[in-house]
């Protein structure tokens, strides 16, 4: 790999370029007309404008991205997260063009992108799953009796869904068939597939996930994370390792996750997501993400492994080169997502020019941002400005250090989620791990009054 094209924007594009530079790989940033003067355009070796601001005409445009690769002589494409990162068709086009695709095989993307097939693959590997249908519902299924067996409340999930999209809750038998019909119509509209399946619903669940890494032959896990602090199924505060997880559960989800990717001959980084019910102490598979994730940084903090470096190495055809015993977990890390949103006004997106951007420093504090002071936040894309990652030898020390680090943050000109994050990290319920995926929405003080 000599020259890497990054088919993404914002903080993850900057993050990828940093590692590529350390490895002596030249970089090409593709940008929309709205991002021509973005920070990434300053740090990349080459910059190519690939289209107008709407993502559909630029970052999601297969032909424009591939043309930029051809024009610049890039020999590899890193898709980052979101955008084209889990698009098997695009992956095939990259490979067909003779380029290195920094990601798993298109077949792996398709397998895990189909939620009911992924669930079956998980079961085959011994990964714990929730009670539910084995595969998508068919017309001959006796749906009410299947639902009664699973028990209420349950959720109807779109097979082609993911990332919290395409899920509907059914509280009792009365609304079952009607909800399935709506879910089918929604799934058809959003994902062009009306396949849905049923799964038991956990009322107060935590979100835990296992990071895996493999070269198609050898596989390791890089431990687990907890991403339970969410708003509308969007993560905003993540940590590693997952706190208060019984040893046997931790071991089971880690080992079976490795087994899942071994059976799939998986290549690259991947995340197996679980719901964990603290009451019954049971974990169950949700889905697998076949890309680098926003929160990979907390795993890097506790393992010392540069995951982008591993992606680039393995995509180039190198062997994994280490075993599970070589991986040492040290301390505890938290990640805070700073979004351009106004928590005091229903999290309304807040585009505009960043007048002041003061980020924290000190031991164990890392800031990964796609912006610098004076840059504009365009209204066209995701609201993530950047992330602050804090490491300390213990979770409690990491919380205290995070409070200190967040107090140093000063961003002016646009509204951000910084104030909400300061509140969240100082909650006794967070320190005591009493939070869950609906915690933020269930506390009016947090969504109403955060400054």
């Amino acid at each position: 790999m000599k020259k890497l094209l990054i088919a993404n924007r914002g903080e993850i594009a900057v993050r990828i370029i940093r590692t590529a530079r350390e490895m002596g790989i030249a970089t090409v940033a593709v940008v929309s007309e709205a991002d021509e003067f973005a920070y990434v355009a300053e740090v990349a070796d080459e910059v190519i404008v690939i289209g107008p601001p709407p993502a559909g005409l630029s970052y999601l445009n297969h032909e424009s991205v591939l043309r930029a690769a051809a024009d610049t002589g890039a020999d590899a494409v890193h898709p980052g997260y979101g955008f084209l990162s889990e698009n098997a068709e695009f992956a095939r086009k990259v490979i067909a063009a003779g380029l290195i695709w920094v990601g798993p095989a298109p077949e792996s993307i398709e397998l895990m992108g189909d939620k009911s097939r992924a669930r079956r693959a998980a079961q085959d590997a011994g990964v714990p799953t929730l009670p539910g249908t084995q595969s998508a519902l068919s017309d001959d299924d006796d749906v009410p009796s299947i639902a009664a067996q699973i028990g209420y409340p349950l959720v109807v999930k779109a097979s082609a869904g993911g990332g919290g999209k395409g899920i509907r809750l059914v509280k009792s038998a009365e609304s079952l068939l009607e909800t399935i019909e709506i879910a089918r119509a929604e799934a058809q509209a959003a994902f062009n597939s009306s396949e849905v399946y049923l799964e038991k619903f956990i009322t107060h669940a935590r979100h835990v996930e296992v990071q895996i890494l493999g070269d198609g032959i050898d596989f390791v896990h890089l431990g687990d994370r907890d991403c339970s602090m969410q708003r509308q199924q969007q993560k905003i505060l993540e940590e590693a390792p997952a706190p208060n997880l019984p040893d046997e559960i931790r071991k089971r989800i880690r080992d079976t996750s490795v087994e899942l990717v071994r059976k799939a001959h998986y290549v690259g980084v991947g995340t197996i997501e679980f719901l964990y019910d603290p009451t019954t102490q049971e974990a169950a598979f949700i889905e697998m993400n076949t890309r680098i994730q926003v929160e990979h940084t907390v795993t890097e903090a506790i393992t010392g492994i540069d995951m982008i470096r591993e992606q680039l190495r393995i995509a180039s055809g190198e062997k994994l080169g280490f075993t599970q015993n070589d991986i040492v977990f040290t301390g505890s890390a938290l990640e805070f997502r700073i979004n351009a949103e106004d928590p005091a006004n229903k999290f309304m997106p807040s585009p505009g020019t960043i007048d002041v951007l003061t980020l924290p420093g000190g031991l164990g504090v890392r800031s990964d941002f796609g912006f610098t002071a004076g840059k504009s936040v365009a209204p066209y894309y995701d609201s993530l400005l950047g992330k602050i990652i804090v490491w300390a030898p213990t979770r409690q020390a990491a919380i205290r250090r995070s409070e200190r680090a967040l107090s140093e943050v000063d961003i002016q000109g646009i509204k951000t989620t910084t104030g909400l994050l300061r509140k969240l990290v100082s909650l006794a319920d967070f320190e005591n791990v009493k939070h869950h995926t609906k915690y933020i929405e269930s506390d009016v003080d947090l969504i109403g009054g955060a400054k």
Binding site: P52, P379, S383
Partner: protein, 76 residues
């Protein structure tokens, strides 16, 4: 009464890529009827006609960029 977008973002005339447009030029629209969407940072807001009338002309194309206060469509 022209229809104005209060938000910046991308204007869509259809609810989805494979869908029919909400309204066509020359259509009669009711007060409160949705005539398009504005996407700002992945959040979608409906653009509605404030009063009933005939929608004469769109001033912003499908996938066009809008700024706050821009006229999206001209009404009669």
């Amino acid at each position: 009464m022209d229809i104005i977008s209060p938000l910046p973002g991308v204007f869509y005339r259809k609810p989805g890529p494979d869908k029919e447009p909400y309204v066509k030029e020359g259509d009669t629209v009711a007060a409160g009827q949705t005539i398009g969407l504005v996407e700002i940072m992945k959040q979608f807001s409906e653009v509605r006609a404030e009063s009933a009338g005939v929608l004469l002309e769109f001033k912003i194309d499908d996938f066009g960029i809008v700024n706050p206060g821009d006229v999206v469509a001209v009404m009669e």
